[in-house]
Amino acid sequence: MDLDFGPEEDAFRAEARQWLAAHVPAAPLPSLETREGFAAHREWERTLHADRWSVVSWPEEHGGRAASVLEWLIFEEEYFAAGAPGRVSQNGINLLAPTLFEHGTAEQRARVLPPMASGERIWAQAWSEPEAGSDLASLRSTATRVAGGWLLGGLKTWSSRAAFADLAFGLFRSHPDADRPHRGLTYVMFPLDAEGVTVRPIGRLDGKPAFAELSLERVFVPDEDVIGEPGQGWRVAMSTAGNERGLTLRSPGRFTAAAERLVTLWRESADTGVPALRDRVADAAIGARAYQLFTYANASRLAAGGAIGAESSLNKVFWSELDIALHECALDLLGPLGELADRAEDAPAHGGWADGYTFSLAGPIYAGTNEIQRDIIAERLLGLPKGRRS
């Protein structure tokens, strides 16, 4: 048992660090949750891609470096430590791409992945509906069979950055007569500028217009844009759901970098003699280290040929609550300045804690609410009986 990196991993880290030092913009980009910021972040994706840093874990033929899980973790540690911009392509890279690698055709991979890697085409997700959130399998949007493809209809909502994105992927009810709600769903990809798609931006808690509602009326999707077998969409989507909850959505680098900044903030600008604050800073640091070591253990298990299943629900609850605790603590350390939005004139000293705080509040909700994750932990990891969700 060890925590040592090999010479190749050290070299990979050094290369990543050097590249980031030379390329990360000195001034933070405008928020990626705005139209202006979205465009700036798309440009950053292009920069990453030009030197093959946008999708390090993908095979080289699709623009990646075939990096191991451990190398990916190293890249992420360096990425967040360098204060590099948020990833506007994250929905495509973290959610759609793993699905295509597992269930897509070679043609789909060749067509979809390169422009995803370069930021030329940015993807939004279309899962939730007004009446289908945690109970996603009850979704009502339809896919109706027509010659050569499907016609989509219905309403998708709470779709992050869909107001600015190019395409979307989601589940639609294609076989309404199936015996169970989660059977009879089909996984499709569609352009957001297709005929019949109406995108209505929705302001979020932070006031940014980055949510959107997608109204779909007879939107034609050719057969080549269906992933997996029609009617098997639930299985296709769930086989990679662990990616979103667990390892690949929120890497420990994000939290170790934030914990480092938090400890610095505490040492430099807070009253270090107040035990109540000191204990919370310590808990955030301990949590970040725990998440990092937990992930190293998972990466080691994967490298040894093991698999991660329902354990990804442990990750999801842990990082989402850690993220909030870290940011709440920072705002409390900032005292009266903690109330300032990051765009306030007096706020530069903030270091982006306010935006980070608002962002963190969504963590326990998206990627499967923490209530659903706790059900999964209790039923699949502890073996407790299924019950009504009440």
Binding site: L3, A282, A285, G287, L293, A297, R374, L382
Partner: protein
Amino acid sequence: MRFLLDDEQSEFGRTLDRMLSAADTPSAVRAWAAGEHGPGRAVLGRLAEAGVFALAVPEAHGGLGPLPVELAVSFVEVGRHAVPGPLVETVAAAALFGRLARAGEAADAAKEWLPRLADGRAAVSLVLPGHGPYALDADAADAVFAVTAADELRRCPTYGPVQPSLDPARRLARPLPAGEPVASGAAVRAAAEHAADWAAFATAAQALGTGLALLERTVAYVKERTQFGVAIGSFQAVKHRLADTLLGLEFARPLVFGAAVALASGSPGAGAEIAAAKVAAGEAAYAAARSALQSHGAIGYTAELDLSLWIGKARALRSAWGTPAECRARALDLFH
């Protein structure tokens, strides 16, 4: 990097688990609490035979160590089976004498005690500066040692009256140092700090095991116990509480083994890693005790049910060898 137990280490844990399951530790714990140490010492003897204490003793002195990863594996099982006695203190004494011997101090005492600690002939208690005033199970130990605030290591032939603990199986007494110091000075201070790290580390592993046992027993109970016509484990209020209990334990586990790796490599950051593990494992075990009691209801509040043996221990281990506040202060050095 391979941050995973190897097959041999995992098998060592399973062997200890089987051995302790067969040893009827709950009866030994109850006897220990009543001052009858025989059955408990027999369990300690079997752990020694399996090599557990030798893991903390250097090879030059009849041990196998130091092997902190294997020691963590052992102490998780010690906690899971609620083994009574001054086990952590024996490990810490081994670290103390081992470090003194390496510094060329207290050679006679090291030669006298280390081989006996390794093979189980002796179990000892220990008090270190900042971790007093009580020696655990002084009445069951073969010797009690104390390092004083003046950096003197003394053997304590006598001790005060036994003070009951919230864990009936932990018997606390104030040692009364007497006689000539075994060693003194800066080397003793450094060895005492090293020993305190090992004590906190072993306690963290023991707490993790304690929490795991509490959760295992509670999961089994809520599957069996029915109310309103269904197993209470099907209620979301119960499920979510136990899910949180598992979360606490599963994120404490990598910190415990991370501390083991840091100790094994002699990393200067080991103190912060140990402190982090101690906070996380202590809090997780304590939360497991609270969840276990609440999920069992009134029967959990009885001394008859063996669950009580772990509930009291979880509370005691939270403060033993480093309070949560002290450990949090040290854990701040994880990031700097």
